[in-house]
Symmetry: C7
Subunit: 94 residues, 7 copies
């Protein structure tokens, strides 16, 4: 993908929450919680702190958990992405 986030930002592809509960009931779209997991597709060059560039901890391909409602949704080539700051990423899930 040809998108280069600035500074400490990353671009992630949101992972859909599964549409079935454990008991197998399909829940309608409005009842689902806002998904909180995504896959990193692009990372910025890092944050400048005290004149030093700190590289990001996440890298392309990482599966991450992020803060609800963080970031800005953008549509690129018909697909939805989320651009957020690394600080809004809580953890990497392996």
């Amino acid at each position: 993908m040809n998108i280069k986030p600035l500074g400490d930002r990353v671009v992630i592809k949101v992972l859909e929450s599964e549409e079935k509960t454990k008991s197998g009931i399909v829940i309608p779209d409005t009842a689902k919680e806002k998904p909180q997991e995504g896959k990193v597709v692009a990372v910025g060059s890092g944050e400048v702190v005290d004149g030093k560039k700190i590289p990001l901890e996440v890298k392309v391909g990482d599966r991450v958990i992020y803060s609800k409602y963080a970031g800005t949704e953008v549509k690129l080539d018909g697909e939805e992405y989320l651009i957020l700051r690394q600080n809004d990423i809580l953890a990497i899930v392996e």
Copy 2:
């Protein structure tokens, strides 16, 4: 567990407050106070301050008291966890 919190964040397993009062009366779920104790299950790599990485004071296995309502609740493999910043941890109980 395969979760790696970022920066100064830690993942804790919330410890249930005991369901009985001292006199032995079982109190219903809604009357219980929000639990404030947990066990650390994963820690981040530390916080960058003035270009230096400061390692965290808490470590995996510590039993901690944390600020009410702090952090973000996440569900991993069907279990509830809390991801919070070390700054929201008040003390280690031994």
Copy 3:
């Protein structure tokens, strides 16, 4: 163009969102989302951080995605431009 933004600011020409949906229906002006893409036409000399001038990451000609509602709209020679801080630019699209 003869405009020189100060510090970490950039001047961008907003790119109109396309006036047709994929199915070819022309949507009226009020239903369109506020555009979020633009082309950089001028950049400032950089931001002073801890006494050091940090040059900007974006350059003239870059196509960028920016935060909704960021910046100040100005009219120069009858054309609309947006002056915003580099920090309000989310990513460069190539």
Copy 4:
């Protein structure tokens, strides 16, 4: 006590305000002002400022005056304690 506050936090045991006014009238519990004095029972390792650890000014055993409503109340072994930042302690009374 086996509690280790983090960073610049201290644990104090709140000192009850005396239940009698000077004239000897016992005042009911709801009319009493929130107590503002306590005894330090545990101190953190200090605050990190600019990469240097600054040890705390208060020490275990100090009798202190603290800001009203500061800190977080916790119950340990059936006793009430208050965990607060050293910055919420106004003075040491000797």
Copy 5:
């Protein structure tokens, strides 16, 4: 003019927006947008950042675009001026 702004402040003379639209219709005073252009008539000695004095980027005579509603209006010798911080100046127009 005998006015010396302090620090990172500049004094500007507001340039009136032209009273005619392109089609030549005179618009009444209340319909005009608040003007956003001015001419710099005095500059401060600069801002102190980390103990170093950073000289200003604008100089006397520059024609500038500034943020709407920024600064403080003052009347000197019967003329209206605006004292604002350099940070409220968006760009120099040449």
Copy 6:
């Protein structure tokens, strides 16, 4: 007095505003303005800025003017005192 304020705090004894106006009329208590003058009775060890301890400018015995409503009122040995930060002291009156 045995009180040691922490950091950049000082303890002052509030000076009563005189109960008579210049014309000699005694004004009732509720009409008096909140007093803004006090005498310094104890000073903290100073503020830590960038790892350096900056000693306070005020000293015990100084008569000072302070910001209205600043600080915390405390009662020690039946007397009212005010604990405030040096930053809330406007000036020393000699």
Copy 7:
């Protein structure tokens, strides 16, 4: 006058706005704008920034323009003064 402002504060004597308009009409007191000019009568020793004391730019005797509503009014020996931070002074008028 025996007043010594602390830090980056200055004491100024407010200059009354002239009670007549140019055409010679006396305007009643309530219609006058709050005055914004004053004369510096005392200056503090300077502000501590990054451990260095920065001396003030204004000096005793300077005639200054200051932000409306800035500072604290004090009455000393029956005269009204204003104590404000140098940062609230916009410019020196000569």
